[in-house]
């Protein structure tokens, strides 16, 4: 019962936060300089047409009326119509959202797989050359500006070595039917393995660029957490029982060492959305980050 009450209280506390967020989003839309009517109709529109459109969009109402209208639509799941393409935003956002989720998932998988394993082995072989190399790379990784890493990757692997494509999600001249908008799944559904390979190749560079910082952070946290766990009594007991090193490290120690790592992974997923804006700009990735960036320009 106590847990239920606690959960309900926490959920109720979310309401003012969500209201505040919607107010901020609304304020941002309002405060960005420029006239939406002018943006839609262009510079040459007649004053009459502009005034009509303003009336139609409800731009002449006081701001709090506009806010409640916006809030009401938000609760109905209606995010409004894009001023630019006239399509409802919920429909228009679908493919962008899928593109960003695909990229974020791939980079997070990369970050967790490499980061956790590098951290474990570094802790296991503490003060070895492997440990020092890993921690040096992790240190540089934490300080890496995403956009510079992306540019360097493009230059080396796409332009100089020509191993991997540098822009977009697939070869635009050779598309498959978009069913889920997740290109990996779409190409499997279409049974096109050559296209699957193409999609994966397009994912590698942006995935690594976006995943490097979380990878470095995860590696450092895993290492220090593993070192702490490895010193505890139950690990000594497990060793004393004569269990193999590998078994002790991966079965016994890892279970407890992963708890702080999981917390960090959760935080990093949130931060990835921010990094996605930059990565998507560099790699011409048609995702939410780039969408938001251009939408601010178009006053959507």
């Amino acid at each position: 019962m106590a847990l239920l009450a606690y959960t309900i209280r926490r959920l109720l506390m979310l309401i003012p936060v969500l209201l505040g967020m919607s107010l901020i989003v609304f304020a941002i839309i309002h405060a960005i300089p420029g006239d939406p009517a002018l943006t839609i109709l262009g510079e040459k529109a007649s004053p009459q047409a502009l005034a009509d459109l303003r009336e139609q969009l409800g731009l002449n109402n006081p701001w709090y009326m506009q806010y409640f209208h916006y809030l009401g639509n938000l609760l109905k799941g209606d995010l409004g119509v894009s001023l630019h393409s006239k399509a409802p935003i919920t429909v228009e956002m679908g493919p962008y959202l899928a593109a960003t989720i695909e990229l974020t998932l791939v980079s997070m998988l990369f970050a967790v797989f490499i980061g956790v394993n590098a951290g474990i082995i570094s802790a296991w072989k503490q003060n070895s050359w492997f440990d020092y190399t890993c921690m040096l790379i992790a240190l540089i990784g934490v300080s890496m500006p995403v956009f510079w890493l992306g540019l360097m990757e493009q230059w080396v692997f796409a332009q100089e070595l020509k191993w991997l494509p540098s822009i977009g999600r697939d070869n635009p001249r050779d598309p498959v039917a978009e069913i889920t908008h997740f290109y990996i799944i779409d190409s499997i559904l279409a049974g096109r393995w050559d296209h699957f390979r193409d999609v994966v190749e397009h994912l590698i560079l942006p995935g690594i660029a976006l995943g490097t910082i979380p990878m470095a952070i995860i590696a450092r946290i895993t290492r220090s957490s593993m070192l702490e766990v490895m010193r505890s009594d139950y690990i000594r007991t497990a060793r004393a029982k004569g269990l193999g090193q590998f078994f002790v490290v991966y079965k016994h120690a890892l279970k407890n060492a992963l708890i702080p790592v999981l917390t960090i992974v959760g935080v990093q997923v949130g931060l990835l959305i921010g990094g996605a804006v930059l990565t998507e700009t560099i790699f011409g990735w048609p995702g939410v980050g780039r969408y938001i960036y251009t939408a601010i320009g178009n006053r959507d």
Partner: protein, 297 residues
Amino acid sequence: MAETHVQTVPVKQINEPISSPWRDAWRILRKNKMAILGFCIILFFVLLAILAPFITPYEYDKGELVDKNLPPSAEHWFGTDYNGRDVFTRVIYGAQISLRVGLFAVIGSIVAGTFLGLLAGYYGKWIDTLISRLFDIMLAFPSILLAIAIVAILGPSLENALLAIAIVNVPTYGRLVRSRVLSLKEEEYVMAARAIGSKHSHIIVQHILPNSLAPIIVTGTLGIATAIIEAAALGFLGLGAQAPQPEWGLMLSDSRQYIQKAPWTVIFPGLSIMLTVLGFNLIGDGLRDALDPRMKN
């Protein structure tokens, strides 16, 4: 046994230097090779930034088009860019910009965050609820997106980018100070101060602020690193410094189309961002180990 032991203690204290938390921290910090390396990197960039006009014979915003996209050479250490401007000159003038933005953005966030955090933690009640919820709301947005939105409202410029970064990072310091205040309020010496009738302002300035300083310094140093990256990111997106300012992020986005012909125009500004950020991260890590062992993880 016990008596002789008691007698030796004062003698020992006279010979040893006076011990205080700050001295202890300095002693630990001096032994930390990585932190010293960080200090050296930052000192190097600070010197470059201050002495820029004396180090380079070129100007950061003037170049000969005849000399465009020249590879690194004895005259142009880092080569020249698409306008024939000396890249080395632009990089060291860029150090001025990035260090200034990093420092002032963090100072701004610390001042505002400390004020709000003190208010929330010390007075509690509805002020606490209001400020804490405000922080929750701000932290719900990815910081770079919030910064982009603020710059979009104010108009793109270096000053507005600095302001946006400062605003976005206020909750980090606000929450930190608030939690310090909440735990310090329960300390016996603070209760004692209140019991003898000290004023609120006296308790805050004499007891709470000095004891919140260590975590603020640690987070602030690491915060400079983040602020420099965020400023460069805004510059890269065209929302920060404007041409012809030699801002590192802006230099990257300006030169990226020439990356194959003149890779040095992209390599060196990016490398400078990375090294500066690395330097502040190293110092921050070292300070954390020295000042606040509990924060170590």
